[in-house]
């Protein structure tokens, strides 16, 4: 039979089956099981209405149970077993112990954490910026479509595009990679100094100053105690300030490095093999994709901010920046959190981009690709399942928080 015909028949059977199920089961409930007549009509109606929601939920519960709940339990079981010959043997947490002893696992964990901080932060920030900037201009909608377009590209497709951006050719021939093409323009002259030394230093110093200011804001409340601060809050503020100080230190040392670094002018770079930095080149792909998502949701949220609160703020003397940061952003904070956590979950599961671009080499491994390596390349489904459980454990709290926030937003 022609496959197209098969597809049509399958669709027909599926849709028809659903109709028959919902219609038939409700009919059975109303006509046979608890008919709304006779001496018990009132009781029957109440009972039928108690059962009805479950009739509608039944298919979803069964399918989700079969394809979601069962695999979770099975994976958990697999992670506690070891392959012996053709059978398996219960080994407790041995798989986890083995995984913890692997350097590649800790590399994945560390990389995942960096992804976790950088990608949601950058995507949300860029998305918010794009949403605000495109809101008031005539060609804003065109700009929005362009920014949103990467969302329509698959992660693998996006990776291929960016692999071309990072591509490197011999110095003698023209570079087809955009990044190397720009890099080859730098030859050590005044512009090179300006763009590769002065600009990064200025940006890093600005970043350090901003972080230092925020950190000072955190401890200031505790030091100038014009209001009571609880012990837990003191601790949190102290920790926040310490993280801030560490970031300031990192930024300053990088700025120093940018001044001192010996840049290999005129030599095409293999960007994806530069350890540590290549992680950021991979993250750029996901940021590029997720910015569109963040922009669309945040743009809708920004439009929901009551116009009169903005006008009131203008009359109160707020400048455009203050209107944005003190009036608009706080009012859409709930949506920002939902966007942030949604992207965070995507990031924790990131797999395709790493697989397609570096396959976890050059210290770019992430958990999902590590799991894939173990499960399907090494065939070690014990350790593979253990790493899958780790990903699930990491996603779970964020997922719960995301659902909680999304529900709060809807109320």
């Amino acid at each position: 039979m022609n496959p197209a015909l098969q597809a049509v028949i399958t669709i027909g059977l599926g849709v028809g089956g659903c109709l028959v199920y919902f219609y038939g089961s409700n009919l059975f409930l109303d006509k046979v099981l608890y008919p709304p007549r006779g001496p018990n009509a009132g009781r029957n109606i109440n009972r039928a209405n108690m059962i009805r929601p479950w009739l509608f939920l039944f298919p979803a519960i069964v399918l989700l149970g079969l394809y979601l709940a069962y695999p979770v339990v099975a994976t958990l079981w697999l992670s506690l077993n070891k392959q012996v010959g053709t059978g398996s043997e219960f080994v407790g947490f041995a798989n986890y112990a083995q995984m913890m002893s692997e350097e590649k696992f800790w590399e994945s964990m560390q990389n995942n954490m960096v992804w976790l901080v950088v990608v949601p932060a950058m995507s949300t920030a860029f998305g918010l910026l794009a949403a605000q900037l495109t809101d008031r201009i005539k060609w804003g909608n065109i700009a929005k479509s362009l920014i949103f377009m990467p969302m329509a590209i698959s992660f693998v497709g996006a990776s291929v595009i960016w692999k071309l951006v990072y591509d490197s050719r011999d110095a003698a021939v023209a570079q087809i990679g955009a990044l190397n093409a720009v890099w080859m323009k730098f030859e050590g002259g005044i512009w090179s100094v300006l763009f590769l030394r002065v600009l990064p230093v200025v940006l890093l110093l600005a970043f350090a100053a901003a972080v230092a200011w925020v950190a000072w804001g955190m401890v200031r409340v505790v030091l100038q105690s014009d209001r009571a601060v609880g012990g837990l809050e003191k601790l949190a503020r102290g920790l926040g300030a310490l993280v801030g100080l560490w970031l300031v230190y990192v930024a300053l040392s990088w700025a120093f490095g940018a001044v001192r670094a010996d840049l290999p002018y005129g030599v095409p770079q293999q960007f994806l093999t530069i350890p540590y930095w290549n992680n950021f080149f991979l993250m750029a792909v996901l940021i590029w994709i997720q910015t569109g998502f963040a922009m669309v949701i945040l743009s809708a949220a920004l439009r929901g901010v009551p116009e009169d609160t903005i006008e009131a703020a203008i009359i109160d003397g707020a400048n455009p920046f203050q209107v944005f940061f003190k009036i608009k952003v706080p009012q859409i904070m709930g949506t920002i959190v939902v966007v942030w956590t949604t992207i965070t979950i995507t990031v924790l599961k990131v797999f395709d981009i790493v697989l397609a671009m570096t396959n976890g080499q050059f210290q770019t491994q992430v958990l999902a690709n590590y799991m894939y390596d173990k499960l399907f390349r090494a065939g070690d489904w014990g350790v593979g399942s253990a790493s899958a459980m780790v990903i699930m454990l990491l996603v779970m709290p964020i997922l719960v928080w995301n659902v909680y926030n999304a529900r709060k937003e809807m109320r």
């Binding site: 009551p306 609160t309 006008e311 009131a312 703020a313 203008i314 009359i315 003397g317 706080p330 904070m333």
Partner: protein, 354 residues
């Protein structure tokens, strides 16, 4: 000080003119109400004074300063919005202090001003609450508090009471009025509710289609409306208008309307044969005697007074009686106008004749 002067003010949205050259003087400390139907330009005028709408041409002066091109924050005004426009993420105190904070005022000074305003408005127990935890009337007070703390030259109110229920509206009306008597700050107040305008204003500005129809004290507008628009807009139930013609009968000038002969006030000097609109307020009608005859359509007792709707030649004429009346729908009845309380307008231009 806080006087507002408007000269030749015009506003265009693209090619559409919505404000047609307004002139208006508001004295320092005056409570002025802009009133008119939806789309008459009253809110636009207010927003132009606030600086939220650009001025297309003409002048707006607050005190000695021409403020056309000043940003809202430098005009020394404060505005209360219809939907309160409270910042939902800030406490009542922070809402009230925001403008002062933006001005870079010292924290202690902000605090003392906020506390003082909260005392005036009875908001002291709510200072640390968020707007969502307040009732409609309390939110309205916070919005006013936000205006008061700034101690501006002019208060601008944009239909501030239209989201409140009827009882609260009456109460807030009195509060705003009292507040004005206490602070003596120039106030421009926009409303579509003529009762609000009548009860609150020192001076009412009646607007229609981007033009000012009449400016005057509430009772002046009520007693001597310059045209049929103002006459029908001010007063509730509104003035009865009957189309008629001036005739002379036995040496006495009267208005003939649908067969009925209606008396003219003694002061009236209109020539015979003129087509007029004969206006008479519901309370100036008495039952019985000579006048408009018809059948009673509806009787609406309000308690303090009774409105009787009389159908005369297919037109509804409303009479208002302080005494209890015993009319029933279907009764034949005549309403006799009090000649001294008759308003006479030209039929075609609508302009007042007498």
């Amino acid at each position: 000080m806080g006087e507002v002067t408007i000269r030749e003010l015009k506003k265009f949205y693209g090619g559409v003119q919505v404000i047609h050259g307004l002139d208006l003087d508001i004295a320092d400390g005056e409570f002025v109400v802009l009133v008119g139907p939806s789309g008459c330009g009253k809110s636009t005028l207010l927003r132009m004074i606030a600086g939220l709408e650009e001025v297309s041409s003409g002048d707006i002066r607050i005190g000695e300063r021409r403020v056309n091109n000043l940003p809202p924050s430098e005009r020394d005004i404060a505005m209360v919005f219809q939907n309160y426009a409270l910042y939902p993420h800030k406490t009542v105190a922070a809402n009230m202090g925001f403008a002062l904070k933006m001005r870079g005022m010292d924290k202690a000074e902000i605090n003392s001003r906020v506390v003082r305003a909260a005392e005036i408005l009875g908001l002291t127990p709510y200072l640390e609450r968020y707007p969502r935890a307040l009732s409609g009337g309390q939110r309205q007070r916070v919005a006013m508090g936000r205006a008061i703390v700034r101690d501006p030259q002019v208060f601008l109110f944009d239909e501030p009471l239209s989201n409140l229920d009827a009882k609260l509206r009456v109460q807030m009306r009195t509060e705003i009025r009292e507040l004005h008597l206490r602070l003596k700050t120039t106030t421009v107040y926009v409303t579509h509710d003529q009762i609000e305008a009548m009860t609150m204003a020192d001076k009412i500005v009646v607007m229609q289609g981007g033009r000012i129809e009449q400016v005057g004290a509430p009772l002046e507008l009520y007693d001597r409306p310059v045209n049929t628009f103002v006459a029908s807009f001010i007063g509730s139930p509104s003035m009865n208008m009957v189309a008629g013609k001036v005739v002379e009968q036995g040496g006495v000038r009267m208005v003939e309307a649908g067969g009925a002969m209606l008396p003219l006030p003694n002061r009236a000097s209109v020539e015979v044969g003129r087509e007029v609109t004969y206006g008479i307020r519901p309370e100036a009608l008495t039952a019985g005697g000579l006048g408009l005859s018809g059948t009673v359509a509806v009787v609406e007792p309000t308690g303090s007074e009774t409105h009787v709707v009389l159908r005369v030649n297919g037109q509804d004429i409303v009479g208002m009686f302080r005494d209890r009346v015993a009319f029933r729908p279907g009764d034949a009845l005549t309403f006799a106008p009090d000649p001294e309380m008759v308003h006479l307008f030209d039929r075609t231009t609508g302009v007042r004749l007498a």
